[in-house]
């Protein structure tokens, strides 16, 4: 009997090791392409084509300087920062206002309007960039910053309103009622009480919309022809030559593009995983 138990624990230990081996090998699969990108970005031009090692012979930070200055990445990066902040700010303001009204206030056609938003979230509309381009040209804002920011705000609205409405509905009504008795107007209730209370949900919205705004490419490609207004994702294409690509510069540029995302992700991963796992319950 005792021997049996011993055998069992040994077996469990063995299977644990196998599980870890499998998970670690998959973790390496996830990370290797990124490490290879960083490694390439630090190699010299000749080394890129000769040295297959993950560790560069010397650290060539010049690639980053070249990508930043000659590759105009300083401009693209600044543009992406401007777009991401404007888009996220716009989404937060517009979606909290609407979600508060859907959760708490009464107005005509409330349910119809809310379901229209939900439908937009659930039904995919492929190729929406074609009519959007036509619309931007018609409005005279194609190839302008605002012509990019406005449709991008819209693309984040429905999901954000959905998340916020659910959150607002869980906040006890007593808080608002006592504020109204104290003489607060509806708008004051919104920005003094509901907005601060919704900060956990708002932070989720900020993170996800920031990631998707930073990573967006198609609408930018449709909208911008002026290189001075392009975001990073569009800027990456300048490193690809017709016949020949300078991979050490391209990989330096992709590293610059990816770094802010990885930093946000690692510092906020608690929020990210929690809200993702929350998405499927309910």
């Amino acid at each position: 009997m005792k021997r049996d138990m011993h055998f069992m624990t040994k077996k469990i230990k063995f299977s644990r090791i196998l599980i870890h081996l499998f998970l670690i090998s998959y973790a390496i699969t996830c990370l290797f392409p990124l490490l290879w990108m960083i490694s390439t970005s630090l190699k010299s031009t000749s080394e890129v084509y000769t040295n297959k090692s993950l560790i560069p012979q010397s650290l060539n930070f010049e690639n980053y300087i070249k990508a930043w200055t000659e590759g105009n990445f300083s401009i693209y990066f600044t543009n992406s920062v401007i777009y991401t902040i404007s888009i996220v700010l716009g989404i937060v303001i517009v979606s909290t206002l609407a979600a508060y009204a859907f959760a708490r206030l009464n107005f005509p056609f409330k349910n119809i309007i809310y379901y229209a938003f939900l439908m937009m979230m659930l039904i995919p509309i492929p190729g929406a960039f074609v009519p959007l381009y036509v619309l931007l040209v018609k409005l005279g804002i194609q190839n302008t910053r605002i012509g990019y920011i406005l449709p991008m705000i819209n693309s984040g609205l429905s999901v954000s309103i959905f998340i916020l409405k659910e959150f607002f509905e869980q906040i006890p009504k007593e808080l608002e009622e006592s504020a109204v008795i104290d003489g607060c107007s509806k708008f004051q209730v919104y920005y003094r009480i509901m907005f601060p209370l919704a900060l956990p949900a708002i932070s989720t919205i900020v993170i996800f919309n920031a990631l998707s705004a930073w990573n967006e490419y198609i609408l930018a490609a449709v909208n911008f022809t002026d290189p001075n207004k392009m975001p990073v994702q569009q800027g990456l294409f300048i490193f690809q030559g017709q016949y020949f690509t300078r991979y050490e510069l391209l990989m330096a540029a992709t590293t610059i593009t990816t770094l802010p995302i990885i930093i946000i992700y690692l510092s906020m991963q608690k929020y990210i995983v929690r809200s993702l796992t929350g998405a499927i319950k309910g």
């Binding site: 599980i19 870890h20 998970l23 998959y26 973790a27 699969t29 996830c30 990370l31 392409p33 990124l34 290879w36 990108m37 084509y49 303001i93 517009v94 979606s95 206002l97 609407a98 508060y100 009204a101 206030l105 009464n106 107005f107 229209a116 938003f117 995919p124 509309i125 492929p126 190729g127 929406a128 960039f129 074609v130 009519p131 959007l132 036509v134 619309l135 406005l150 819209n154 309103i161 990573n215 490419y217 198609i218 449709v222 994702q233 990456l236 294409f237 690809q240 991979y247 990989m251 992709t254 593009t257 990816t258 992700y265 991963q269 995983v273 993702l276 796992t277 998405a279 499927i280 319950k281």
Partner: protein
């Protein structure tokens, strides 16, 4: 009267959202249907009504049909391989081992990257002359397997699929993990007391209780694979020839390279209807059993 003013006041809160929604969602949707009945280059005022011609043309367009076929192949590969790996990873991470949080954080890194970045990294990995994949085959003495992965007609689509699955595993993994964590632990306890084996638990507890999650993840996988776009542009841009054309890339090129805006929007409508049916069929199928 007071009540009426109240309701108007309330309505002000949704006006900004509604304005965005009507301008950038409803109007383009309406415009897509309208444009699909015209022949138009997107620039001039010269719009010619052609009825259903664009739709009829689509069914005779070998490149469009090829892109739809590729979309199905990509969906199929992702459903089978990407989701199996993701499901296995989720079960292992959920098995009570140490470091579960660490694995969870690492596995979700690829999904947060942009399609353009992932496309370029993999393009470099697949590079025929200096890429690490062919380099590795040299080192392993498997040089006869070396090939220009993205420009060989036999491997181009598979190579694109692998790059996109590498990015997609983490998304399915997180959803599976959430589903597994929703299964009450005492179900496993009770079955263990009754002498159930691991596989019995898997088939009689895990799978049935995960059916909702499996459905959601499958729908999302198909919708994602059928709409694949950004990652393909840096990788192959549809080439070699039309080997890796995908539906969304066809729409993009028909509009912005061929200036056939009417035709491009007709393709949008067709793809949109298809995706809508796919999600409906799946929901219906699951409700029956």
């Amino acid at each position: 009267m007071r009540k009426f003013i109240d309701k108007i006041e309330n309505f002000i809160f949704v006006i900004p959202a509604l304005a965005f929604f009507i301008t950038f969602s409803i109007y383009p949707l309406f415009k897509t249907f309208q444009m699909s009945f015209y022949q138009w280059d997107g620039i001039t005022k010269n719009m010619i009504f052609v009825g259903f011609k664009n739709y009829i043309d689509a069914f005779k367009d070998p490149i469009w049909l090829k892109s739809i076929k590729n979309g199905f192949i990509l969906s199929f590969l992702a459903l089978i391989f990407m989701n199996s790996i993701a499901f296995l990873l989720a079960i292992l991470v959920n098995s009570g081992i140490k470091g579960a949080k660490f694995y969870r954080v690492i596995f979700y890194i690829p999904p947060i990257l942009s399609g353009i970045v992932v496309g370029y990294i993999w393009k470099w990995i697949y590079d025929p002359n200096f890429g690490i994949l062919n380099g590795l085959l040299d080192i392993l003495n498997l040089s006869h397997f070396k090939r220009p992965w993205l420009s060989d007609v036999n491997t181009a689509l598979i190579s694109v699929s692998i790059a996109s699955m590498w990015q997609g595993v983490g998304g399915s993994f997180i959803l599976f993990l959430a589903g597994l964590q929703g299964i009450p632990e005492d179900l496993f306890e009770a079955s263990r007391v009754d002498g159930a084996t691991f596989w019995q638990q898997f088939f009689y507890i895990t799978i049935p209780l995960m059916s909702r999650t499996l459905m959601i993840v499958s729908i999302l996988t198909i919708l994602g694979a059928m709409q694949l776009l950004t990652i393909v542009i840096p990788l192959t841009n549809g080439g070699p020839g039309f080997e890796t054309e995908v539906p969304a890339l066809r729409i993009y090129k028909e509009a912005f390279s061929s200036y056939k805006f009417g035709y491009a929007t007709a393709l949008s409508v067709l793809l949109g209807i298809m995706l809508f049916i796919i999600s409906l069929i799946q929901i219906k199928l699951r409700k029956v059993d």
